[in-house]
């Protein structure tokens, strides 16, 4: 892949198998369009009393995988049952984060089935996504953490503990918390905005990002 900002992540999928007490789970990155219809979602992903999964339909994976720069990374039991996922994309044009073109790249959603938690799957999913080092070196990758999406019931964690878990999950990959006045983040103090500035992002782009965090847009 090239080094210009318009380039997408590598489309070469990577795969890793993890042995778990529930059976071997395959983590597969860059799942291609057309590969989702034969899969099924585990029962631990879906709609619950105080929590709903961000993605509940296979069509969404198809849409992300087909979009420019979209990356769907799945955790699969027996090669067929989705027990976790991580999806990434360029920010939606309606969002502030799209103002710098393809400089920013969103870690859009990350979830592990309620039945497969505490097995290290989330970490493996992130790890596989971040292995695309050439791509991430030129990007500012970010993750929004809205507390209304957090599965407190299923995790048994408090808001503060869940927040810390998110920070600790992303920290090994260079993500850190940034203050922002973006309204959806700022509306609740426990919400999170984590970002990782790639080592080849220029000083000028770093400055533009810093301004963007506070809604300062340049011509």
């Amino acid at each position: 892949m090239g080094s210009d900002l318009g380039a997408g992540p590598s489309t070469h999928g990577r795969e890793e198998v993890i042995e778990t007490p529930l059976g071997p789970v395959t983590i597969r990155s860059h799942c291609p369009p057309g590969s989702f219809s034969m899969l099924e979602l585990d029962e631990g992903i879906g709609h619950f009393a105080h929590y709903s999964s961000i993605i509940q339909k296979l069509e969404v994976f198809e849409r992300v995988a087909s979009s420019e720069g979209g990356n769907v990374t799945l955790a699969l039991l027996n090669g067929r049952r989705i027990v976790g996922y991580g999806v990434c994309w360029y920010p939606d044009e309606s969002e502030r984060w799209a103002a710098l073109g393809k400089l920013l790249y969103e870690m859009g959603a990350l979830e592990v089935s309620r039945n497969f938690r505490r097995l290290g799957l989330a970490q493996k999913i992130i790890q596989l996504i971040m292995e695309d080092r050439e791509f991430f070196a030129q990007k500012i990758a970010y993750m929004k953490g809205y507390s209304w999406h957090w599965d407190l019931d299923g995790s048994g964690l408090t808001i503060a503990q869940y927040r810390n878990m998110m920070i600790h999950l992303m920290k090994p990959y260079g993500f850190r918390e940034y203050p922002t006045n973006e309204p959806n983040i700022a509306i609740r103090e426990e919400n999170l905005f984590l970002a990782r500035i790639g080592e080849r992002v220029s000083q000028e782009d770093r400055r533009r990002f810093r301004n963007l965090l506070f809604g300062v847009l340049e011509d």
């Binding site: 105080h50 507390s147 209304w148 407190l152 408090t158 808001i159 503060a160 927040r163 810390n164 920070i167 850190r176 918390e177 940034y178 203050p179 609740r188 103090e189 426990e190 810093r210 301004n211 965090l213 506070f214 300062v216």
Partner: protein, 188 residues
């Protein structure tokens, strides 16, 4: 939790500000900052912060586990423009409580600087396992700070009537405000 500092913020008027914990080399800057605070406000602080020995003592004995002083610096001028301290006890009945004190340079008030600092310390406190943040404000004197605290859901739990005296010997009420850090879902 402190490795994410410095953190860059931009105030309402576009000033580029860095937030970070106080360092020993800030001694001169801190003294200069406190000397800019109007005398009638300094009166209500717990120490004579214009005394170089007091400030020296602070920076010489920094212990972030007990007192975390967070400063805001005007990045261009490298001057301290606000100071917020989080006091806590490492064990016992008070370990879930953090006490706050904030002072903002008069030239930078009304720029949401105090709000950003409070928000930052609230998030930091969550990470430290603190459940309650307590702040005391002198009624009719620290109006802007009370307003900023209100906006961040600090609520008044007590008024100590005619508790502190100003320089002219007049009594003022002391407000005790508390913020409960979310440990569970709240209505949204």
């Amino acid at each position: 939790m402190l490795e994410d500092y410095p953190k860059a913020i931009i105030t309402k008027d576009g000033t580029q500000v860095l937030l970070r914990p106080l360092k020993p080399e800030d001694e001169g800057r801190l003294l200069k900052f406190f000397r800019k605070i109007p005398e009638q406000e300094r009166w209500f602080l717990r120490d004579d912060v214009t005394d170089p020995r007091v400030v020296h003592e602070w920076v010489e004995h920094l212990d972030y586990a007990r007192v975390l002083p967070l400063v805001a610096l005007n990045e261009e001028e490298e001057a301290i423009i606000a100071n917020l301290t989080l006091h806590r006890r490492p064990f016992g009945a008070w370990r879930h409580v953090g006490r706050l004190r904030i002072v903002v340079d008069p030239d930078y008030r009304g720029q949401r600087l105090g709000t950003w600092m409070l928000l930052d310390i609230i998030r930091l406190a969550m990470g430290l396992g603190i459940e309650k943040l307590v702040a005391e404000f002198v009624a009719d004197v620290e109006t802007a700070a009370i307003h900023a605290a209100h906006k961040l859901d600090f609520f008044k739990v007590a008024t100590l009537p005619e508790y502190v005296k100003d320089r002219e010997g007049r009594y003022h009420d002391l407000l005790v405000m508390i913020k409960n850090l979310h440990q569970d879902w709240s209505d949204f």
